[in-house]
Symmetry: C2
Subunit: 333 residues, 2 copies
C-alpha cells in the first residue's frame, strides 16, 4: 500500500478533544475486581466534573486537571465514576461527577453562545470550575488533558441525564465501570450515546458557503452542520442539511476528518461538498445569514483583517480546519 492512498489520514489528531493518550482497556470493564484494584492504586487520578464543568487547579502554572482520589473524598465524594482508561505508564484515570452542592455559582456569564458560569468550590480557593469551551479556546490545559476532559464530560453528562430507563421508566444503575446502565425492571441495557453530526463546507470553484447562527459571536461565519438522522448516509445528511439551511444543492461529498465534540456528546464528521447551485435561500430558523466567500476573503478572516471584521471559527473546532484546508488548496488540485 502506498502512502498516497492514506494521504488524508490522521488529520483529526490535531483538533480539540481528540488525541486522548489513554488505553480504554474496554475488555476489563466487566471485571469489577480489576477495576476496584485500579481505583486503589496510589497513582490513580480523576477528572472532576461538577455542574457539567471540569474542576481546574487555580492559578497554578501547570493546570493539570487530573487529581488524586483523595481530592475527591475531600470534596464530598463522587456521585458516580467511570473508568476512562490507563495512561502510557499504566496509571488509571477515572472521571467523577461531584454533587451540584459541592460547588457554588457566583455569576452566570453565558452570552448565548458560550455557557460560561463562574463557579467556585466553597472554601477551596485553590480550585475553580471553568466551562470546557473556555478551557479549549484559551488553551488552559494540554491537548492530551483536553481530550481526557472531553471524554470525562461526555460520559458524566450521559449518566447525569440517563438515570431512568427509556424503555420502562424505572431507575437504572451504573455498570461496566461506567460504560453501561442497566434496568433491573425490564432488563434493558443502555449504552452511552454519541450523536453523529455532519459539518461541511459546500464549495463551488473558488468560493465556499458559510453561514451564521444568531447565537454566534458578532461577525463570525462558519460551516453548516446538522445531526445525521436515522436512515441516511453521511453523504445524504450533508446534502440534506446544506439544502435545508441554505437552499444550495450539492453533488459529491468528500470526507475530511472527524472530531469528538462533548457538547454534550456529538461526533463531528467534517466534509467538503460540491455545490451544484448558487442561489442562496436561508431557512430563517437555523441561520440568520449565509453567503459565498472566496479564498482571499477567508484568508483575511483567518488573519483578522477582513474589511467587515468577519471572522472564522477558533482552531479548537473542526470547522476551522475544514475551512483552512480548503483555503490552503484542498479541492483545487
Amino acid at each position: 500500500m502506498k502512502d498516497a492512498f492514506f494521504k488524508t489520514a490522521a488529520r483529526s489528531l490535531s483538533f480539540g478533544f481528540s488525541g486522548a493518550p489513554l488505553d480504554r482497556i474496554s475488555d476489563k470493564r466487566e471485571d469489577s475486581g480489576f477495576v476496584a484494584a485500579l481505583r486503589e492504586r496510589s497513582d490513580a487520578r480523576m477528572a472532576l466534573i461538577a455542574r457539567d464543568m471540569p474542576i481546574l487547579p487555580r492559578g497554578a502554572a501547570s493546570r493539570d486537571p487530573l487529581f488524586p482520589l483523595s481530592a475527591v473524598a475531600a470534596l464530598g465524594g463522587a456521585r458516580f465514576e467511570a473508568l476512562l482508561g490507563i495512561d502510557s505508564r499504566g496509571a488509571p484515570v477515572f472521571a467523577a461527577s461531584l454533587a451540584d452542592g459541592a460547588v457554588e455559582e457566583l455569576a452566570d456569564l453565558s452570552d448565548g453562545f458560550l455557557d460560561r458560569r463562574m463557579l467556585i468550590v466553597p472554601g477551596r480557593d485553590d480550585l475553580e470550575l471553568v466551562d470546557l469551551r473556555t478551557i479549549a479556546v484559551q488553551g488552559l490545559v494540554s491537548a492530551e488533558a483536553l481530550a481526557i476532559l472531553g471524554q470525562a464530560k461526555a460520559i458524566v453528562h450521559w449518566h447525569a441525564h440517563h438515570g431512568y430507563c427509556a424503555n420502562c421508566g424505572a431507575p437504572t444503575r451504573i455498570a461496566a465501570a461506567g460504560w453501561r446502565r442497566e434496568c433491573d425492571a425490564c432488563k434493558a441495557q443502555h449504552f452511552p450515546r454519541t450523536d453523529p453530526v455532519v459539518i461541511m463546507l459546500a464549495v463551488d470553484g473558488d468560493r465556499c458557503l458559510l453561514g451564521r447562527q444568531a447565537r454566534f459571536p458578532k461577525g463570525m461565519y462558519s460551516c453548516l452542520a446538522g445531526f445525521v438522522e436515522p436512515g441516511e448516509t453521511i453523504e445524504e445528511a450533508v446534502r440534506r442539511e446544506v439544502h435545508e439551511e441554505s437552499g444550495i444543492d450539492c453533488g459529491e461529498v468528500l470526507y475530511f476528518a472527524s472530531q469528538p465534540w462533548p457538547f454534550p456528546s456529538s461526533l463531528m464528521i467534517g466534509c467538503l461538498a460540491q455545490a451544484n447551485s448558487r442561489g442562496i435561500k436561508i431557512d430563517g430558523n437555523e441561520l440568520e445569514d449565509a453567503r459565498w466567500f472566496d479564498r482571499a476573503e477567508v484568508t483575511a478572516m483567518f488573519e483578522k483583517r477582513h474589511p467587515q471584521r468577519l471572522s472564522a471559527p477558533n482552531p479548537m473546532a473542526i470547522a476551522h480546519h475544514i475551512l483552512r484546508g480548503w483555503a490552503e488548496g484542498a479541492g483545487s488540485a
Copy 2:
C-alpha cells in the same frame, strides 16, 4: 474544483438502506396542521411495522411495501406514526407502528445471526411480515423501498423503546411529526438516536484482516466493527477496535463510505486502515477467529470457490463493498 478531488464520493448510494428517494421536509415537522393535511391526502402512503418487522404484500409480483392509509385502519390503526417525507411527486410517506396484537407469530426461525420469525396478519392472507435483513438479502423490494423501510424501522424502534424520559422516568409524548419526544414533567426533549459504528478493513500490502463472530453463518468472515465511544474520533475508534479485537496495531485510516444500518439504529462508517503489525491475538469475546487473507483468496470468496468454502458478506452490507473495493485495487495505486 476538479472531479478528481471528489473521486471517492457517492459510493454509499449503492448500498442497502441508502438512497431513500424522499425529501424529509424537516422544516415542516413542527407544523402540525400541515402534517395533518398531508395525512389526509389521497396519495398518502405508509410503511407498516409490527414487532420490528415490515409488512409486505404476499406473493404479489410487485412487493410494494407502502400502503394507503385505509390499510392501517383496517389493521386496527397505528400505535404511533412518523412522517418520513414526500416523494418526487409530492406524495407523503409515513411510518406506522401497529400493535403487537395485530400480528401473530407462527414460528421462530432465528438462527442466531438472522432474527427471522414467521409472522402473519390474522385473517389477511394477502399480507405477511418479513424481517428487514431477509428483505434486503433476498431483494424482495426495490432499493428505494428498502431505504424507506430502513428509515421506518429505525424511527419506529426508537419510539417503541423510548416511551419514558431517561432524565426523570416520566412518560414522554411524541412530537415534531415523530422526530422528537417531549417530557412534560422535566421538560427534557429527546431526539432519535443514531449510533455511529466504525467498520474497517485493516490492510498490510497484499493482505487484509478479516474476523468471524460465533454468530456468523458457517464459514463467513467479515470486516471488524465496533461502536464509536464518547471522546474519540472515527480514526481513533478504528485503531482501538482493531487492536481490541485482533491485537493488530493500525496507523493511518482512510474513510471509504457510510451506510445506515437499522438494526436497530446504527450509522456504519466504513474505513480502510494501514496495519502496522502482523501477529494476531483475538480477544475471544467478540471474535472466534481472525486471520489474514490475500487478494486472490478474497476474490475466491466472492466467487464462491474458496477451497475451505469461506465466504464474504452479502452485498447488502457495507463490509462487502469495503472488501471488494480493496480486492479490486483500492490501496494499491
